[in-house]
């Protein structure tokens, strides 16, 4: 065990319609080798033993790839540190005696389920609106090497494809916009030859769904790019704008 003492100010909310409030939790014996979520595990263990209600939070892979963890720590999604998710945040980023604020993602489109867990199904619905190539499973497709793809295009498409769908971009955006999320998928598929036949339909459908879900508009603050755990560039938003514009003015 370590010897850091911290004060946690954690958002507690019983359900989507509950008002919610900040509750203080002093924690001690925190080791700098702990991850942030392990520190919460220790706190929850203690709460359960004392007969109190443990803090609900989403998490799964704990290695920064599934996109399930989602805490707003000291005013930043996934906390201090760049290019990492909450589960990769370690307590050595904090000092003995610190006070740490922990809140859920805040967005009209992400209602709170309980405490720090929110419902991000809106992102799935954007994907379902057009984030795919319309190809069925078939054992008779052309050979994977029949269509060479320039390395630069493949690499840029990959950069966009690394999105883990965590929603940090939405949480940090003053407008609650999901543009970076939507742009990443539109950009990936419009850069690859497989995605080109549907690019117009895709851009229109995904943007329409995004608006329907209640996400805000993009005003180019660039906060999303800073907080994105995968470092996805807002240049993809520029590409989405172009895709959308072309699709709008040339649609039949």
């Amino acid at each position: 065990m370590g010897n850091m003492k911290l004060t946690l100010k954690i958002w507690r909310q019983n359900g989507p319609n509950d008002q919610g409030k900040i509750v203080d939790y002093p924690v001690s014996d925190v080791s700098e080798d702990m991850s942030f979520l392990e520190m919460l595990d220790v706190l929850n263990d203690d709460l359960v033993r004392k007969g109190e209600d443990p803090i609900a939070f989403d998490h799964d892979c704990r290695e920064g790839i599934c996109g399930m963890c989602s805490l707003f720590i000291n005013g930043e999604p996934h906390g201090p540190g760049r290019g990492i998710t909450t589960c990769q945040l370690h307590m050595r980023m904090f000092k003995d005696g610190d006070t740490i604020h922990v809140e859920p993602w805040r967005s009209a489109a992400f209602p709170v389920i309980k405490d720090l867990a929110t419902n991000r199904s809106a992102l799935d619905r954007i994907q379902a609106a057009g984030g795919f190539v319309s190809v069925n499973t078939s054992g008779n497709l052309v050979d994977g090497n029949a269509l060479p793809i320039p390395k630069d295009d493949a690499d840029t498409a990959f950069d966009a494809a690394t999105c883990i769908g965590c929603g940090a971009c939405v949480a940090t955006c003053p407008n609650g916009s999901a543009m970076l999320f939507t742009a990443a998928k539109v950009s990936q598929l419009s850069l690859l030859p497989q995605g080109k036949p549907e690019r117009k339909r895709r851009a229109l459908a995904m943007v329409e769904q995004m608006d329907k879900e209640g996400f805000g508009n993009c005003s180019n603050t660039g906060a999303c790019e800073v907080e994105c755990p995968k470092g996805i560039s807002i240049s993809h938003i520029a590409r989405l704008h172009r895709e959308y514009l072309v699709a709008t003015v040339t649609k039949e």
């Binding site: 991850s35 007969g51 443990p54 790839i65 309980k114 499973t137 090497n145 990959f158």
Partner: protein, 671 residues
């Protein structure tokens, strides 16, 4: 009682699958609309199956416990996916992939299944490319490959260190396309609690809505379990926190035999345990063994000094380092298969040569690679008389380009710069080759209940080769089940919708509600994790990398004791009708506490060493292979399929004898 019929089609091995597909029954398009299929789990196997079956016209209901289908743990696979494309012109073929997989699995898998896997592997790559999966490409725009452990060709396709993510997002996009069309109904944040059997057939499931706590009934003509492995029985593993055995275990308790439960893969290169708070272990990709050299000090005094913090790895001169894999296995060196590398690390640490505080770590050292690449770069960039610092810098840049994201991940967790100090690694539980027994059609011993991907026992024998898990998940989901499930469902075209008001559903639902109420009313003193940790320690100490009869017998007794105490003393706060994560965990751990005992029974029964299962009683005592695992083909060339007999610890062993007609059984040597 069901009998074991593997239903392997007749004929030569390379014709079996084609002939089988040509002869099994199919369901006409107009009739597919009348058939409902439940798919549990949305990883590579489940996501691919749900999407493919919906495309064909079936009504699909897909379930996952995560908040989105995209988060299934397939996403965490780093290295790559194997396929016999022979793009590198290095002599690869369907047969060679088949052979490597059977050999890598230490001759404990079913030949016909493995051959089919190798046969469809090339289709998988084509399918994923068509979906827009951004695989690594070379400057000519063609697909790139790399090498993995235990093979001598380059057949691994990859997407940087995130291959699993990209393949899963491909399957997820296909799935969401069907969700958008209404062909798949998606139930996320739902956990399957039981399978419902009507007249001997799987006809639906009981699931809990994890947000509202509501217990739901879902009927279907077939149920597909694609629910992943059970490595979390060890508490600490590289699995996601939510990965669990519940779906497979409940199916087992309803009549599905459990195959080879003791086969566990311990991955050699994971970040060592740092303290008691640890919740999971993080894998460092096998690809690191292409360039990293594994060693411990030769002298005990040096090892002691390192553990006490008086010396660093870099203080140990070259002559005093023991590169034990290169010493013991000169032919494969640091790229021996996972089971062999893990055992060798344990052997050195048990002998007292471990290099961290706990004594359970070895070095994975890139200094030689940095030097080698640095000198190469100095020559290429025409840097004359490069200083040692320059060489280091140039070499570091190359290593960073190849493995940068992994090095960052390591530094993040450990807080030490792996470019300057050798990484410390230790083996950790990673994958389970065992799972529900299935026949060639991927059907369990319960008619209408199918099992795909890591959740079944089928293709990897006693040890899985790197980059083969992704291959199997997608093969099962895209290219096997869409055919084989039709053969079963052809009888159901006139059945009509399954009535979920039947007494079988009443009974199954009541059982689950009673269990939930027991947890909530138990008012014990200890949280669920307390029991999980203790179970994990018993499993790791006595049913981990090395096993013996005495330890396994003790383990059975200890697990029973923990299980009893769990039911008496577990404390689960909150209520049934809310988002209650402790309640979710309680149900999962209750199942692990039963599975753990079966794993030990299976390990005790299998008095031979094979692949990931190492019985200390069964090793080579002398000769060039001294200390290596010793298989017993005469007595154990079978799949152990266990039948549940009504309570934990009581199980009946059925044997599926494995026939090897294509591959000759020999000792697996990597010397």
């Amino acid at each position: 009682m069901s009998t074991l019929d593997s239903k392997i089609p007749p004929g030569p091995i390379d014709k079996k699958w084609t002939d089988h597909k040509g002869h099994i029954r199919i369901v006409a398009p107009s009739n597919k609309r009348r058939i409902d299929i439940i798919v549990v789990g949305t990883g590579l196997a489940g996501g691919a199956a749900a999407a493919s079956l919906a495309e064909m016209g079936y009504n699909v209901k897909a379930f996952c416990f995560q908040d989105s289908a995209r988060r299934a743990h397939s996403i965490a696979a780093q290295g790559g996916i194997n396929a016999a494309k022979n793009y590198q012109n290095d002599g690869d073929s369907t047969y060679r992939l088949f052979y490597d997989t059977v050999k890598g699995g230490d001759y404990r898998s079913r030949e016909a299944n493995v051959y089919r896997l190798a046969e469809v592997s090339a289709n998988i790559i084509d399918q994923c490319v068509a979906q827009g999966v951004p695989f690594a490409r070379d400057y000519g725009g063609l697909l790139d490959n790399r090498s993995f452990g235990g093979v001598q060709v380059s057949r691994t396709f990859y997407a940087r260190g995130q291959t699993g993510q990209q393949l899963l997002l491909g399957a997820y996009s296909a799935l969401m396309r069907q969700v958008g069309k209404g062909a798949v109904q998606m139930f996320d944040r739902h956990e399957m609690l039981d399978v419902v059997i009507v007249d001997g057939k799987a006809r639906g499931i009981i699931a809990r809505n994890l947000i509202t706590g509501e217990i739901e009934r879902h009927g279907a003509h077939a149920v597909l379990l694609c629910t992943g492995g059970y490595g979390n029985v060890f508490f600490l593993s590289t699995n996601a926190m939510g990965s669990n055995v519940t779906a497979a275990w409940k199916a087992h308790k309803r009549g599905a035999y459990f195959g080879n439960p003791c086969y566990t893969q311990i991955h050699p290169t994971c970040i060592p345990v740092s303290g008691t708070h640890q919740s999971k272990l993080t894998l460092m990709s096998e690809s690191l063994r292409n360039d990293g050299r594994i060693w411990v000090p030769k002298n005990m005094e040096d090892a002691k000094a390192i553990r006490e913090g008086k010396k660093k790895g870099s203080d140990i001169p070259e002559a005093d380092r023991d590169y034990y894999l290169e010493r013991r296995y000169p032919a494969f060196g640091n790229l021996v298969p996972r089971d062999v590398a893990s055992r060798a690390a344990k052997e050195r640490c048990d002998a007292g040569f471990g290099v961290n505080k706990t004594g359970e770590a070895v070095y994975l050292d890139f200094s030689a690679a940095i030097q080698r690449y640095g000198k190469q770069q100095a020559n290429m960039q025409k840097v004359e008389n490069a200083s040692p610092e320059q060489v280091r810098e140039l070499g570091t840049a190359v290593v960073s380009e190849k493995y940068g994201n992994l090095f960052d991940m390591y530094e993040n967790i450990v807080g030490e710069d792996p470019y300057k100090h050798a990484m410390k690694i230790y083996p950790a539980v990673h994958y389970t080759m065992g799972g529900l027994w299935v026949d060639y059609n991927l059907q369990t011993t319960v008619p209408g209940l199918f099992c795909l991907g890591e959740a079944n026992f089928s293709d990897h024998g006693a040890n899985r080769l790197g980059a083969s898990a992704l291959m199997q998940g997608l093969a099962d989901g895209y290219f096997v089940i869409p055919y084989t499930v039709g053969d079963y469902l052809a009888d159901d075209i006139r059945t009509g919708p399954i009535d979920t008001k039947r007494p079988e559903f009443d009974a199954a639902e009541k059982e689950q509600k009673d269990r939930i109420n027991h947890f909530l009313n138990n008012k014990g003193t200890k949280p669920v994790d307390d029991f999980h940790r203790r179970l994990g320690k018993v499993m790791w100490d006595k049913c981990g990398m090395a096993r013996n009869a005495q330890g396994l017998t003790e383990a059975v007794t200890e697990i029973r004791r923990i299980r009893e105490e769990f039911w008496k003393d577990v404390r689960v706060p909150g209520t049934a009708n809310e988002f209650n994560q402790e309640l979710e965990k309680a149900g999962r751990i209750a199942d692990f506490l039963e599975l753990g005992e079966l794993m030990c029974m299976d390990a005790l029964n299998r008095n031979e060493s094979c692949g990931g299962h190492f019985r200390e009683e069964s090793q080579e005592l002398d000769g060039p292979q001294q200390g290596e695992a010793k298989r017993d083909d005469e007595n154990y060339a079978y799949v152990a399929a266990w039948e549940w007999l009504g309570e934990a610890g009581k199980a009946n062993l059925h044997k599926e004898h494995l026939e090897f007609n294509e591959v000759k059984l020999t000792q697996r040597s990597y010397k």
